[in-house]
Symmetry: D2
Subunit: 383 residues, 4 copies
């Protein structure tokens, strides 16, 4: 008989942002239950966070190591099924590795790790253990993004020629890391984030979205990477020329100093027959443009869409779904796959689409190459 999938969380204690996003995303569809957590490196903070979340005290742990060990010792009908890792980048690898080695599936925030070596090791470990690993490149969870990918796969736009993907934010226009602002502090600290700032935090989302929608890999790039805010340690802006495997060209620009911008991840793709455009801040609209027919505005439930787009919607036309629902689609799809695994079945194909450890490796490769390009006088760097 089907049962809820049990989640243990690493990170996401009081004051965190992405932890609560993961919890909401996991809760929305009712297939996942938060059963335990190691919410903070500070055991008292972890304990208080567990109270906030109505967890029994004996399922709130002082470290992820403790959580994995103790949960493993619990009986099957009780212990967690997977861990959700929602810590800063430098604390992804440790819990992910230990979870995999102890038989737990993993959901991990992006970027997958602190550096490429860790990413490759996790990829190998996933392969070896056969466990499920979801990476929350959440923007591919939007149904209209899935429909865009489906249209391009179908050849509706013809051969793809040009891709423009952009991700401007403005929230790091001033030196927020000096204002005791937790989100800013770890993102601008090379010891916690790795070699990249904005390019790791949001540039990877742009890269992932472009490759996901088009099904094309970036083969070469040429980057101009900048730190605009004086004293900042990691990049806060980047402009990148892209070349894709099929000969398509593109532009990627991402920024956290684009003053006044919110979270404006946008993509435009042009093929021989037509183009499409999607904006994360108005995610339920996909605009499709044609050479000699009127522009079309595709919307959930208003016309035939891709099966896996429809499978990732919850409400009727004109009832906007948003960021949390897109995030929830990853969790829901992951949960369906875990359930199928528990039942010894193949998962329903409409639920198998979520980013995996390989997307994580790809993202780390992008980070390495875009930073290398930014420091190089060579025009094109191969990916």
């Amino acid at each position: 008989m089907k049962r809820k999938i049990r989640m243990g969380m690493v990170g996401g204690g009081r004051g965190a942002f992405i932890g609560s996003v993961h919890r909401i995303a996991a809760a929305i569809d009712g297939h996942i239950e938060l059963v335990c957590g190691a919410f903070s490196a500070d055991p008292e903070k972890s304990r208080l966070s567990g109270e906030d979340l109505y967890l029994p005290a004996d399922r709130v742990y002082g470290s992820y190591q403790e959580m994995i060990e103790k949960e493993k010792a619990l009986p099957e009908g009780v212990r967690m099924d997977f861990i959700a890792i929602v810590t800063p980048n430098h604390v992804h690898y440790g819990p992910a590795k230990m979870a995999l080695e102890n038989g737990f599936h993993v959901v991990c925030d992006k970027p997958i790790s602190f550096n490429m070596e860790e990413a490759l090791e996790l990829e190998a470990l996933v392969k070896k253990t056969g466990l499920l690993f979801a990476l929350t490149h959440n923007y591919t969870g939007y149904p209209m993004v899935k429909h865009a990918r489906w249209m391009i796969k179908n050849g509706d736009l013809g051969k793809i020629r040009k891709i423009v993907v952009e991700y401007p934010q403005g929230w790091l226009s001033t030196k927020e890391e000096d204002n005791n602002y937790k989100q800013a502090i770890w993102r601008t600290d090379p010891k916690q984030s790795g070699i990249a700032g904005a390019m790791g935090d949001i540039g990877t989302h742009a890269e992932n979205l472009a490759e996901y929608i088009t099904g094309l890999k970036i083969t070469e790039l040429c980057a101009d990477i900048s730190i605009f805010v004086p004293g900042r340690q990691l990049d806060d802006d980047g402009n990148v020329l892209l070349r894709f495997e099929n000969g398509a060209k593109g532009v990627l620009h991402a920024s956290q100093i684009s003053a006044g911008e919110e979270n404006a991840l946008n993509i435009r793709v042009y093929g021989e027959k037509g183009g499409l455009e999607w904006h994360q801040m108005e995610p339920n609209t996909l605009t499709v443009k044609w050479l000699d027919q009127p522009k079309q505005v595709l919307r959930p439930k208003m016309s035939p869409l891709a099966p896996d787009a429809n499978a990732n919607m919850r409400v009727p036309a004109g009832h906007p779904e948003g960021y949390l629902e897109a995030f929830a689609n990853i969790y829901r799809n992951f949960a369906m796959c875990v359930q199928a695994r528990l039942a010894g079945l193949e998962p329903d194909p409409v639920y198998t689409d979520y980013p995996t450890v390989s997307d994580g490796v790809r993202g780390m490769h992008f980070i390495d190459k875009v930073i290398e390009s930014g420091q190089s006088d060579q025009k094109w760097i191969k990916m």
Copy 2:
């Protein structure tokens, strides 16, 4: 010690729409747990629905009467705290009344009841029992709607002169009730919906939104109510002139035959000093217009907003929240008030704003008067 609030659901079995909306809304913030349900008048369907929702078999009931009786008999640490009523209109009153009489709080979908008598009786019962009653006029759950109300209350727009509220949908442009389409069937059936079709289903949302945002009551109305689809039994379109208590004038139009429209609840309010505009389909934007300053686009987390607007947001700027989050705000606020009640405390004021039984009575009054006006040759009907 704080604990999750326990919900029992009436209605919302397989094939329903609004039931899953309520469940998601209740689940998002993690303060509410679905513990039991009477999901369908068909006991087998109720049982299967309970299985879908991972409920134990002994908490899935064949009728709301059974549920209320058996839950009441359970110990305090186990039994439900409130019922959520998500049935068609004619099955609101029965479970609401019985729940209140047996000491359970109530969340009820709108309109509150089948007719005015039932509404008034429920209002009296709430007053008598002192129990909490939330009505899911969900559109007032949007944070930018709360900010709009706050601005007007502050006098930012000056004395209000004109209000235009509209709610066009197109999904009943054809006779969907003949297509075995459950949502269409009960909404167009006077035995299940009451005297009004579109005016009850969505006209009341428009009325509620206008009165909520402006803080002004409609005092007179003049309506032209139509059935456009041949053979339909209830109105599918209505155009209404409005007069408000302070001398403001307005227009309300709502329709389910506005072909090609999704769920376009929109409102514009104009005062002596400025105006504002909000669109449900792009709910995170509130446009404010001034006589001689530039138009402003207010967005979550991008500038100072009303305290209760901020208290009803979950994610950073540019991460769109939508319909389900607005709906969840009602559940979250209701849950906070139940928790405070359990703890013997006053609730935090930022959580006390949710529609109540009085909004339900007001909505039934609107339905009565707008239908009366539609049938009358008298120009103005008093509310």
Copy 3:
């Protein structure tokens, strides 16, 4: 041999607004030449205005009477072909009548006259003389408006059910007529404007647009007409329920106290098969909505459009045309018809579409009835 058509202008001296609009509209396409004018009731002001316009002194007159008399005495190759009347409403009838009686064609601003009697007399005179009379209901000059009409005429939307036309402005939110603001003074003065303020100035545009696009006549209306600004003499706001000859219903609201609004003439039309939407402030976009196909965004030169839409565009796709070009379309079409008349030919059908004296009579009828309804307790007033 073809020659430019010669225009004489009545009104439009220094400080006027609509006079320069007419001159630009007449000049854009190069078929019309301004040859003379009586620009002001003040002869010195008329003279100075003529100088501004590079006119020879002997073609600048102190009154329209003088202009018509003296121009009539000039030889055919020199004298004006038509007069353009750009004065306040109470000075439309006089020059129009005299021009027609003396063999000159007429272009007249709207509303056509001060009252219905004048309008009917002008209509009879046009009929009697066979001269050409264009009324500058300029909003029907937009190409996408013409395409909308064409689609509805073709039956693309099916039988029309609902029409929402609105015209909010905010520029009279304060008592501008006390600020020596010429545009406000005459528009709010019953001696110059007639019985209606906003309903005459912009309500007639809304009425004209709705009837033009749908091809349907309003048969009944029910109006709530208001003066919001204390001390103002004429209406500054109106909300109107509409019924159309085919059974369609509608709403018209127009306002000059909608604080912060610019010139937001908008229309939505819904039929059995689909709907359309057009906004004057973004006039090159026509949105078409369908029951079960994606929404379409029609744009000039991007897909097949109606012949007379295409004939009223000047530039390639994405080069926005605006208000002045739409106004110019009326002048251009009128000029083409005058040229054809001079050549003894039938005009090309793509140029015959411009508002005429009959639209003017219709507009005066609307003004009479909407004001009558505003003052009446009777629900429906027949048109």
Copy 4:
């Protein structure tokens, strides 16, 4: 006494596009009169075009050489004051040079010439003769563009950090030059256009707009220039990284194979304190974004704007002006400067802003460098 300025046109005969744009732009404000033309290299076509334009036969010439010679021989009160050159790129230099050498002012379409040598020669000739030379980089004629420049000059946005300028079109997605389509043929022909296709035709507009608005010069660029349509001779797409003199970074991309795009010239500029955004296809809106105040939407006549923005508007708020009016602003400003010259006066400063021969030289330099970069393996090319 003031008189109209007299224009002679080179090019723009039947079937041309930009010729009629120039004629309309010159006509709109009534300060310029078309008095003569050499409309085509084919004398018969020139003659017929002159007839279309109501010109006397003796002022229609078979070549620009003939026009300049014969007009020079006419008396001052009759002969043209300036020539407007609206031919393909390779026929700009000849007439411009001859006009300047014979004492005529010049308005020339962009890019200024076929190559850099010609541009520099024209610049020297303008300097030597002291004659006026306007280059129709028309997009800087939009009033909201002028206001954007003024805000940045005022320091409203603080030090500029990032600039994103883009110009996607889709009309050359297929090989239109094989379809006997005149506009496509010359633009894709190196013998008529020079070394650049899209980068010359529209890339220069993007470059000009970015430098105009920000007041910053591009110092280095890195380009990826492509021909996507097989068999095409000149670039139809380009992506360019930019560096500016003050340390700002940027991206410029322009394309004529962005399928389904119209004429989407857009710019975003970000400074330390705020950002702004402007879209050519909705030119009357300038969006300004701030770090911690609401986004503002600036519109003509709705709030205080720069003096030279206001001086380049013709109609009240909400009456959209478009492409032709922006183009007309260049002609009007040029005409005002010629008039002042004729009167021996300094022109009014609000009319002195139009692109000149130096903008033309700058544009040719951009073309040279962007094409050089496209062919180079060197990352940065200095400008």
